[in-house]
Symmetry: C2
């Protein structure tokens, strides 16, 4: 016979799959001998059976009876006993926390008789009738689907009749009348009377919790959080205890350490003569937990001892909920507590110092997202700035600027050198130019998957969204909040990490963690820096993945090196075709003869060589992977629309459009429907004679110059957009000839690897062939994601990613975290087949995923040699690479 | 000891890997007892050993000596004997024919002494000295790399001195002087004298053939033809025989049947007193083979008997080369002969009737490319039109129109209702609009991989390119050829199947094969139609693959059904948004409110429903796969550039741009960098509420209407561009709700499958997940190729495909034949994993590859249920599907 019901004394915390998170922790506390109100857990297996068959398993009812009997015996009371009723709560509790998604019913066991027994036992008839009222209301809404408004309406009516707005002004008689009204509402909506049988109440409540697993909001939440739909929820049935039975009662929440700062010593709040929901409702002010010592020393001491025991047992910061019922302490919940990023680092190292855990374990207690958060600058709030509103922390950072209310104004002002914050009700693709121009984006509508949020995160731009208190008036170019009006040009400050909006310019403080990485602050400067230093050093010792950086200039390379980069994984050469060199590129494109083309290339050669000399110098002794030119050449020309209008207007005015006409013809000739899928990368190299040769020559000559100066340049030449080994083989042969020529002319041998990006799906699928011609692979996971999914980031991120995230089609944007099932599968195929063909193949990744925590774990388990990311992400990658090396299994790191 | 040398008497035709094609067939003829000049073959293995080690295998020399001794014994002569020299030829012969790619040396064995012996034996001193001259020239050029011009120059000098331009005017003394000059040229260029030792000549010639395997042109040819580089070539050493020793000598080529028409009876040409190369050079006119009966009845009778024997033995049309030396017949070569498309069908069925082969084998003797050729209309040349020039048959078809010389004129004239042929020196992407507007394209430069050829084939447009006799004068808007001038507006006719260009309008005759498929001509109308009917009927019985069609209208569907389509595999619905419905689509796009959007959709519903009713009626009883709307909506609006210029000009003129301004704003808002990777397909369906619902409703209501009328509609609803199962699942749930609603309202149950395109790489890689929500898959191999390779067909076909084909990066465009290694691999993954998840999953393909012969074989072996192609390709697919079912193995059909 399957066991569907576990007494709290039977389970333990390892059984989250079966008992859910809440049930497993209640069992663990019971096992530890802590004072947990007796109860039992109905397993997720029972829920799954119910959902599959549409009915409870046959054995369930008798197992509940047995468990209930044990609880009754432990409490010395009977469920719903008219004289002295045992009351229970029925709460959902799934494996993964789904806050607010499923149902709870309190006070099961009350009915027209037992309400009198509760009155007698508590000596408080208002309390008893209020408890009964709450039962009918929660049960009616949750179990029997009575519209909540019906009850609210009746309650509001009673208060209005009494001339008050406060529940507390209702006395026992009022509440009794409300109970009558509620029962009538119930039977009208449901078609039968509110069930008086406590056991019937219990079974209906359990079934309602089972059903709530498939409620629409729960389904949506699971899709978004990627929680498997087949898990089901457990149900916890637990004896009710009451903190609102007088001054010797109360309720509280506490942490074993300060979750905000990581400071040692317990931390919490207490509210006398109150139930848990009152704390949340914030009706009365709580007192610091320490005050309980005065109020009830015995309970306080017992609580302190329990918290020490729990922390020692869980070996981590715990948070708890407790209730004191007439001087008796009851533990209602515990779990490993959430904490701020700084606290995470500090607590982890404290626990090491206390001998509780070792450094390997400490490393698993922090993560790259936390480290990244610590690297953002933050506002110095010591000046007590005016707080305007709270929104959602959509994209982290601290931004200050003049408020502007449309995209055009934003670009104008930014072009005039002003720092601006773009304020909108919500954004659309039309706002893109303004979003690019602004320091930050603030919206009054939309959640973390709104257009503004998704696009800002994609751009790495500070964003606060959904600040609903703002009344944004676009036509009037202003917003008002709480009586204050902010007009265009007024300075505001927004904090994308906290969602807070302030008036005026708030000073921005640099991150001490960044200062430590920069070397301007010592490793023991403060507790946080010391903790970061210790854990990242440990990660460096543990990690198998190398960490390189994406850098296009000597300056970027130097900074990345200070941040711990062990080479450059991606040096983009197209940036070397911009600025004052654009004119040479135009000459190259507009060349009528091969000779003109050669002249333009020859003029570019020394400029590129100079760039490489700088980069090799900054990265001396470390590998530098140079990607040959990738974008289509027409990207170096002015936009089609602009030229077309200029030429048309010049002709209309009888003027000579001159050079514009030549450029327009070239743009027309080179126009591509889908430039991302056009003449770029290796295709350019194969079609335009001499282009790649010039770049390879610049690299080789720069290396020679460095070697002659005593340096140690390590060039890796990377060919972009290869889809077939024949492409790479052709380029490789030409590049080798150039390297040989430079070596012969200079008398210096140039050691250089030749390899390829793996960024076209076909390259991944034919990696075994391509490895025959490649000394290294570097995954370009941006393009691999774009082509593998068939969407271009620029076009789709704003157009539908928000909708996709809301609908749960994505759990997370595949541009943020690598899509393991699809794109990751190609990575794994290419690693396996590339190495099979060439066992010493070097393999890395240089897409933006290289700095994403979850993706770093994926790349570690996929067996890559290194990741490469932007300089600021290098520490994050180092930390996560260390953590990945300690992952228990090759499973993902969810 | 490895055997590197095979006497012709030792091998047979199965040994092409080892002996090459030519050697294997010489051995086969020897084995059959035919009069083959004695000789031997040095194996491909010897070549491979030589190329790997840079030297001949040690055993080779003695094995050649043994084989040479056997030949000498058979001929009763010694190699290079001064009194009566045995002469040999040395010829390459690889497994796959590489015409003209590698080297040949004739007359090995001649030297300063043996030339006298040859004179004595032949009684012809001019012949002997001419033979010696030829040896030095061929040997010098081929073996010792003397520039060919050096010899040409000396020969021309001698002719000039004699005041002639004809070799035949040189007498023995002249030729003797030229031999002296040649020997001097040889030693000057090579550094030592022309080798007099016949054995040394032989060994040097063999080595030169080995080396020619890696000559640049051979490498390029192999890359283009996808012939593996490691095969190596065999070398055939064969006794020379001479057809130019008098009236009782001669040479000829013959076929066992007419390769042009398939008519029974031998067919060939004979040239008395000549060598093989004289036939090719066309210096004298050949006579029909039948005339040989008068000249030399014994040889003729022997030849007839040999040809009958060969055809019986090879069970197929054979072509042969032979020489008669003083009344003695020698067989120099045989192989299964090439033939025209019509002859292929006719001969295959003749051989069945003759009891030589069965129908299964006959089916393997024809192919879809031949059938496709028979389906093009052709010119009726009975009026003896003026032939202007020959070019390359770049893209088949027969096109007639007025010559125009630039793209702009072509579009203007076409817009005015004129049929035009675009004539250019060569085309560039600028010419694209004109190419689209023209009936056909004619160029004077460029090969079959030129821009014109690649783009025209991609468009299915008639093209003749590289017609070098044309002198095209773009500025003068004319071309001249052979003294004739064709000006703009003059009518010309071009035949893309033969490469011929004619003056004036030639009547175009419909293909009788098409008339047979259309049902306007009976299956026994003529020999060709009867043969096609017989073989395609046999293919239908044999094939495992279903054949459907891509059709968007009832008319197309009906035609395809006559052509044998068994349903529609792709019905594109976006065409239903064009024409006079465009205004509704604009309303949908510009809608400010959901209500306006709904109104626009409601107006489209009955129109779409009407389209589906027609299609269901045409395909009654057969499945109709309808693809929901795929392209981005902005494709239904006017182009950005056009609108921008119109608005700018209106403003400049102080006019109100009106609706253009609204449209421009919409186009700006919806503009995408890469529309192929933008908001289209399922993404549109998920983002625009009601769009897919409207289409599903139109399909369902049309099905209901047909059912009520007694019809049998079989709808399959196909969702485009799915990349993740969550997308499909969401659409599927909504579609099912609409189907249920229509069923409830109408009281008629609508049976419909819901499935998806597999056209995004990620869909193929997660096919196991996607199959959970799909009742069928249809591979969109066009998009899968575009995204898998990362190139958009529109942008790249003209920009670099020609270059890629030339450089051998492609053997064939991946848009013509599916790329088995890359894109095909995704197809195989998706088939295996889709079926594993859902064993009854229906799988087809609806990309253009569905009608490509080689691709059809691939899809058969990949295990698909059906292919779908354009109506005209349906017979090709039927034939190839039948052939694929008879493939000996799952290997590809190269």
């Amino acid at each position: 016979m399957t066991k569907y019901v576990y007494d709290f004394a039977e389970g333990d915390r390892s059984q989250k799959d079966l008992l859910g998170g809440k049930g497993a922790n209640l069992a663990e506390m019971t096992k530890l001998g802590l004072p947990v109100p007796p109860g039992f857990t109905i397993t997720t297996e029972a829920c799954r059976a119910y959902l599959t068959n549409g009915a409870e398993p046959a054995e369930l009812s008798s197992q509940i009876s047995d468990a209930m009997a044990a609880v009754e015996q432990a409490m010395g009371k009977q469920l719903g006993d008219p004289a002295d009723p045992l009351l229970v709560s029925v709460r959902s509790g799934a494996k993964f926390s789904m806050p607010g998604m499923m149902e709870t019913v309190l006070n099961i066991g009350l009915n027209d008789q037992s309400v009198a027994g509760l009155t007698a036992q508590s000596g408080d008839d208002r309390f008893a009738w209020d408890s009964y009222r709450r039962l009918i209301q929660m049960f009616g809404k949750t179990v029997s689907e009575v519209p909540g408004e019906a009850f609210e309406h009746a309650l509001d009516g009673a208060k209005a009749a009494k001339g008050t707005k406060n529940d507390l002004d209702l006395d026992a008689a009022d509440l009794r009348a409300i109970v009558d009204a509620y029962k009538k509402i119930y039977s009208e909506h449901v078609g039968h009377d509110f069930p008086q049988d406590p056991r019937e109440q219990l079974e209906m409540a359990v079934r309602a919790v089972f059903n709530s697993w498939n409620a629409e909001r729960a389904v949506l939440y699971r899709r978004q959080e990627r929680i498997p739909a087949e898990l089901g929820t457990a149900v916890n049935v637990q004896t009710m205890v009451f903190g609102n039975l007088g001054a010797d009662s109360g309720t509280g929440v506490a942490f074993t350490r300060d979750p905000g700062t990581g400071a040692q010593g317990v931390y919490g709040d207490y509210l006398s003569n109150a139930q848990g929901e009152d704390v949340v409702a914030g009706i009365r002010n709580t007192v610091p937990l320490q005050d309980l010592e005065q109020l009830d020393k015995a309970s306080y001491d017992q609580l302190m001892s329990i918290m020490a025991k729990l922390e020692g047992h869980y070996q981590d910061l715990c948070d708890i909920e407790f209730t004191i019922e007439r001087g008796k302490l009851w533990m209602l919940q515990t779990r490993v507590g959430k904490r701020t990023a700084a606290a995470a680092f500090i607590i982890a190292t404290q626990l090491v110092d206390e001998g509780v855990i070792d450094l390997d374990e400490a490393l698993q207690r922090v993560n790259g997202a936390q480290l990244a958060q610590l690297m953002f600058p933050h506002f110095d709030l010591s000046g007590n700035p005016t707080h305007l509103a709270n929104g959602l922390s959509a994209s982290p950072g601290a931004a200050v600027g003049k408020a502007v209310f449309d995209s055009g104004r934003a670009t104008e002002q930014a072009a005039a050198g002003q720092k601006v914050i773009l304020v909108r009700k919500e954004t659309t693709p039309d706002d893109l130019p303004g979003m690019i121009a602004a320091e930050g984006i603030l919206t009054s509508r939309g959640g973390k998957t709104s257009h503004a949020a998704v696009v800002a995160r994609g751009m790495g731009k500070t964003c606060v969204c959904g600040a609903e208190a703002l009344d944004v008036d676009i036509a009037g170019q202003k917003f008002t909040t709480d009586g204050q009006t902010i007009n265009e040009g007024d300075v505001i400050s927004i904090d994308g990490s906290t969602g807070k909006v302030y008036l005026g310019e708030i000073p921005v403080q640099p991150s001490p963690v960044v200062q430590y990485f920069e070397g301007t602050v010592a490793a023991d400067a403060d507790t946080l820096v010391a903790a970061v230093h210790r854990l990242i050093s440990h990660a460096d010792g543990a990690r198998k993945l190398g960490v390189r950086t994406n850098a296009d200039t000597g300056e970027d390379a130097s900074r990345a090196r200070r941040f711990g980069a062990e080479g450059i994984g991606l040096c983009r050469t197209e940036h070397m075709f911009l600025g004052d060199r654009r004119e040479l590129v135009e000459r190259l494109i507009l060349a009528d003869t091969e000779q003109e083309q050669e002249q333009a290339l020859a003029a570019l050669l020394p400029l590129q060589r100079g760039d490489f000399v700088e980069i090799f110098e900054a990265m001396d002794g470390q590998p530098v992977t140079v990607r040959l030119i990738d974008p289509p050449l027409h990207e170096f020309l002015p936009p089609l629309e602009e030229l077309a209008v200029r030429v048309a207007l010049a002709q209309e005015r009888g003027q000579d459009p001159g050079r514009d006409k030549t450029l327009l013809a070239a743009v027309h000739r080179m126009h591509e429907q889908n430039p991302m899928l056009g003449l770029r990368g290796v295709r350019l190299g194969l079609v335009i004679p001499g282009l790649f040769d010039m770049q390879v020559r610049a690299i080789a000559e720069a290396a020679v110059e460095r070697i002659k100066a005593g340096g140690d340049p390590k060039a890796e030449i990377m060919v972009p957009l290869v889809g077939a080994v024949q492409e790479l083989e052709t380029v490789r042969q030409e590049a080798e000839a150039v390297l040989k020529d430079v070596a012969e002319r200079s008398g210096v041998d140039v050691p250089a690897l030749i390899g390829t990006m793996i960024e076209v799906p076909r390259a991944a699928l034919t990696a075994g062939q391509i490895a025959e011609a490649a000394e290294f692979f570097s995954f370009g996971t941006n393009d691999l994601t774009q082509m593998g999914w068939g969407f271009s980031r620029d076009d789709v991120e704003g157009a539908f990613f928000g909708r996709y995230l809301e609908q749960g089609i994505f759990g997370v944007s595949p541009f943020e975290t690598i899509d393991a099932d699809g794109i990751g599968r190609m990575v794994k195929i290419a690693v396996a087949e590339g190495r099979a063909a060439r066992p010493d193949l070097k393999i890395g990744v240089c897409g933006e995923h290289g700095g994403d925590p979850e993706s770093v774990h994926f790349f570690h388990h996929a067996g890559l040699d290194y990741v490469s990311c932007s300089p600021f992400r290098v520490p994050v990658a180092r930390l996560e690479a260390g953590r990945a090396a300690g992952d228990a299994s090759a499973a993902d790191s969810r």
